[in-house]
């Protein structure tokens, strides 16, 4: 038997503060190596950390956004280990008193995933290994960039749930606007813990930690790989080691780290350079009062206000960018009625499919701004193009970066509404398919659809479906 899958995820979120967590250096990404450093983030002797207040406020914002309780006292700890990218030989982090505890979020199916803790810490620098193996270089621009660590309880039961949890979490974090949540830049990072338990005791399995997961896809692939690996080991009666494994994205496998590389005793103790301080209820309430509308509330509003089905509303609001896109479309049109639903259909259908196929993180990367979607729907509604043609227009817009109107003009893709032209084609169709024509006359309404399809085919999709139906009905002696 394969056992019950138990997954917990640790997410590291880089905050978008202008300066680092304990000094005034810039946090800008992509600057030349070691250009954004000072004695404090270089860990020079004698200098001291001073907490950036914005980090603490962002931390509370995220913790509240994830439904956590805010601890009344802020205490930092030192996590001690040696590594060249860690200038002080310890990371200032939080340990037994994290900023927020015991929150959670809900997946689409209603399953609640508990969040154990949200805490503040500083990022480390980066090592750059010379390709010839001759030297390793240290870039400390990232050292001291503020991070939040968000740790879930081991409530996830499948790869799909883990993926959905990450998507949902990222959605909420985007709404909170405290990070650019960009996995490629490393501003959102994820480590996974996975074990296989039994029906009677789901937490009885040995936990394996997977690191080096650089995209949501990598998380899903690595977890799937690991479930299979551990399942096979169990089936063969092998003992699963508690260890840290690295995901190799190119090979699609996880590889165990040598024990020396992870067997740390971090010797946590309270950071004596930072005095513990209290968080007042008023401070927490102030941050809570400034929280934006979060995905669930927005979905509810979308369903109620725009008359959308619950599933559509949830789909549109999972990402802040998508929801903003949708509302930008609506601002250019009426809020209710067929437009609201058509825009939703397009976004959840063709636009979502293309984003997915192109592995895009956000709707804004598609190169198809809200006014283009409005334009496209208007072309359909006004009968200038058919729904079927619209799909081609959309694809051409993505390829050429032109607006739908421009595409239609340049390509000459205009819907044929000329009754005479359609009638001529309809007569041909009826002649070629006497049996369906006979069936229709005999009362089989579905036969008309077949004939319309044939008519479309003959006219290469340009015929107006509405006019085509009308013409065929007249031709076959049955007014619609």
């Amino acid at each position: 038997m394969s056992g019950v899958t138990v997954i917990g995820l640790e997410v590291h979120l880089q905050l978008n503060t202008a300066s680092k967590i304990f000094c005034g250096c810039s946090t800008r990404f992509g600057a030349s190596p070691n250009s954004q450093v000072c004695p404090v983030c270089l860990g020079l002797p004698g200098v001291l950390p001073v907490l950036n207040r914005q980090v603490f406020l962002h931390g509370i914002r995220v913790a509240l956004g994830l439904g956590c309780r805010i601890q009344s006292r802020v205490v930092f700890h030192r996590k001690n280990y040696f590594y060249p990218d860690l200038p002080k030989g310890y990371q200032i982090s939080q340990y037994d008193l994290p900023l927020g505890m015991h929150g959670g979020l809900e997946l689409a199916g209603g399953k609640k995933i508990r969040i154990l803790r949200v805490h503040m810490e500083e990022d480390a620098g980066k090592l750059i290994h010379k390709p010839d193996g001759g030297a390793s270089l240290v870039d400390l621009n990232r050292a001291g960039v503020p991070l939040l660590e968000i740790v879930s309880e081991p409530d996830l039961e499948s790869v799909e749930q883990a993926y959905e949890y990450l998507k949902t979490l990222k959605g909420i974090l985007e709404y909170l606007d405290v990070s650019d949540c960009d996995m490629e830049k490393g501003s959102l990072r994820c480590d996974a813990n996975i074990s296989l338990g039994t029906e009677s005791d789901r937490l009885s399995g040995t936990k394996v930690e997977i690191k080096n997961l650089n995209s949501f896809r990598a998380v899903a692939r690595a977890l799937a790989y690991e479930i299979e690996r551990q399942g096979k080991m169990r089936a063969e009666g092998e003992k699963i080691q508690q260890e840290t494994r690295l995901w190799d994205d190119a090979k699609g496998i996880t590889v165990g780290m040598r024990s020396k590389e992870y067997a740390h005793d971090y010797r946590y103790f309270p950071e004596p350079d930072l005095v513990p301080f209290s968080v007042s209820a008023e401070q927490v309430e102030e941050v809570r009062g400034a929280l934006p509308e979060l995905p669930r509330a927005r979905a509810h509003r979308f369903a109620q206000g725009y008359g959308l089905p619950a599933a559509d509303a949830a789909g549109l609001t999972a990402s802040r960018a998508t929801a903003d896109y949708y509302e930008a479309c609506l601002r250019k049109k009426s809020v209710s009625g067929p437009f609201a639903k058509s825009a939703a259909n397009w976004m959840l259908g063709d636009l979502a499919r293309e984003m997915n196929d192109r592995h895009l993180d956000g709707i804004n990367e598609l190169g198809f701004p809200p006014e283009h979607l409005v334009n496209l729907i208007e072309l359909i509604d006004s009968g200038k193009i058919s729904g079927k043609m619209a799909k081609d227009v959309f694809m051409e817009c993505l390829a050429s970066k032109q607006s739908p109107s421009e595409v239609v003009k340049v390509k000459g893709w205009v819907q044929v509404t000329d009754r005479a032209a359609i009638l001529a084609a309809a007569e041909e169709v009826v002649r070629e398919h006497p049996q369906p024509a006979q069936d229709f006359r005999g009362g089989k309404d579905q036969a008309l659809m077949f004939l319309v399809g044939q008519l479309m085919r003959r006219m290469k999709g340009a015929a107006s479906p509405a006019v085509s139906q009308e013409v065929l009905r007249e031709l076959l002696g049955k007014k619609g």
């Binding site: 004695p39 860990g43 020079l44 004698g46 060249p84 001759g134 010797r267 004596p272 005095v275």
Partner: protein, 483 residues
């Protein structure tokens, strides 16, 4: 020459910083070969500072204008080698001044040089230095105390009117006592730790070393006070400490803790203290016996808390970015692990290694609760001892150290005995309260004995008031060692 005497001469126009620089240089030339109190000294740079000062405005009302101050080798001075007397920091010149140094410079003081010390302030004798030991000006066969031994010896020998030391567990007061000078350990949070190379962050404080209490107050006034760059710095008002310097002690309640006069205290030290207490009474103080029941636990508690923090604070000395890095053998590439291990193996001295090992152990998983967590609880009890006693008295009088200066090499092979020479100073650091050591007599062999005054947090005024009144009534501070 004291700070205030020097200041008076400057104001009357009787001398100039350059002339005084020459005078101190002559004094240094004769004494330094005997004592070895300096870790770094550049006479030309010193003279240049004096000349530059003369080009600018006059002394104004700054008591430190034109006053040489020797800086302990663990307090960062921009562009000057600051090495904690450790090979691992060889060649390190900080690109910044410690806040205390910055304030000294602003007040017109001259940075004389860097004072020798026990490596990373780990020691009570100034023998654990990569530059070799400093000697006691009163008896060159004896230690000056430590870790701020260079600072105290230099002031005692008159090579400088003032010095900065630092304390983690008695490192200013004990050498002040051994050398017959005045040393203050301020309330934790009074003087910014920015730029003080950390030993144990929750205990460390910079402290002034001077010849008189009035000088000490003047130096303290210039460098203390809130600093936003140090989160543990206290935002508490700074009074004018010179106003505390009154001759009488009428109405002052002094406590004598019985735990500080028991076994292990040298009879001559005890006798000197008893005489000093009589003098304080004569000056109007009401003296009563009090108790600090957890005193015995202070040294073991300290060696857990302080070494734990030190093991972490010293992790940054890894050979990656500055200081000593081991060379790979035979020009080959060596592993990261090897670079860390060998650089630290070669860079740290024996006492530093002992303390790093001890500190690493007490924080290790499985031992944390038994040692570190428990030590923090005992620390709270020790602090409560002081809180309770200060409900009844304004200050405490104790010996600074159980003995006068011991011989070089006498305790260096026996760390436990060495650690016990801080038995009366360490509780003050653990409690975070201020303590002042000042001379109160000499042994038959001619070695100074120090008296320690302790007061509640942020009442350095009380220490200066009691200390100054006593000093005015006695002659100990006027005695000088001879070559």
């Amino acid at each position: 020459m004291t700070i205030l005497e020097l200041q008076s001469l400057y104001r009357q126009g009787k001398t100039t910083p350059s002339k005084e620089a020459e005078n101190f240089l002559r004094r240094i030339e004769s004494w330094e070969p005997q004592l070895h109190a300096f870790a770094w000294f550049d006479p030309e740079a010193f003279k240049r500072q004096a000349r530059a000062l003369e080009q600018g405005s006059g002394p104004g009302d700054s008591p430190l204008w034109g006053v040489p101050v020797l800086i302990k080798d663990n307090i960062c001075v921009e562009g000057v080698p600051t090495t904690c007397a450790s090979k691992i920091l060889a060649g390190f010149r900080p690109p910044y001044n410690a806040t205390a140094v910055e304030r000294l410079k602003k007040a017109g003081a001259l940075v004389l040089g860097m004072a020798n010390m026990d490596e990373f302030a780990f020691g009570s004798s100034c023998e654990h230095s990569c530059y070799g030991p400093t000697r006691n000006p009163w008896d060159r066969q004896r230690v000056p105390g430590g870790s701020s031994g260079g600072s105290a010896a230099a002031v005692a020998a008159g090579m400088t009117p003032a010095a900065l030391g630092s304390e983690t567990g008695g490192s200013v007061r004990q050498p002040a006592s051994f050398c017959g000078v005045v040393g203050l350990k301020p309330t934790y949070g009074r003087i910014s730790r920015y730029g003080l190379i950390a030993f144990a962050s929750s205990l460390d404080q910079i402290g002034p070393v001077t010849r008189t209490v009035a000088d000490n107050a003047a130096l303290f006034q210039a460098i203390a006070g809130f600093d936003p760059r140090d989160s543990t710095s206290a935002n508490v008002p700074m009074p004018d400490f010179s106003k505390a310097l009154q001759p009488a002690l009428k109405g002052t309640r002094l406590g004598v803790p019985r735990e500080y006069f028991g076994e292990g205290v040298d009879p001559e030290v005890k006798a000197a203290l008893e005489k000093a207490i009589e003098e304080l009474k004569r000056l109007g103080a009401a003296v009563s016996e009090v108790s600090l029941p957890h005193t015995d636990y202070a040294v073991p508690t300290y060696y857990i808390v302080a070494t734990a923090e030190a093991s972490s604070n010293l992790a940054r000395f890894d050979g990656v970015r500055f200081g000593h890095r081991a060379k790979s053998t035979a020009g080959g590439v060596f592993s990261l692990q090897e670079m860390f291990t060998r650089s630290r193996e070669e860079g740290f001295g024996a006492e530093a290694k002992r303390r790093i090992t001890l500190g690493t152990f007490v924080l290790s998983s499985g031992y944390y609760d038994a040692y570190y967590a428990r030590a923090l609880k005992v620390r709270t009890l020790i602090k409560q001892d002081f809180d309770r006693v200060f409900e009844k008295v304004d200050g405490l009088v104790t010996p600074t150290a159980p003995t006068a200066a011991f011989r070089l090499g006498e305790k260096v092979e026996d760390p436990l005995t060495m650690y016990l020479s801080d038995i009366f100073t360490i509780p003050v650091n653990l409690a975070g309260v201020p303590g002042l050591s000042l001379p109160c007599g000499f042994t038959k062999a001619g070695l100074p004995v120090g008296m320690q005054l302790i007061a509640k947090p942020f009442s350095e005024e009380t220490l200066f008031r009691i200390g100054h009144a006593y000093e005015q009534a006695t002659e100990w501070h006027r005695k000088e060692p001879t070559l």
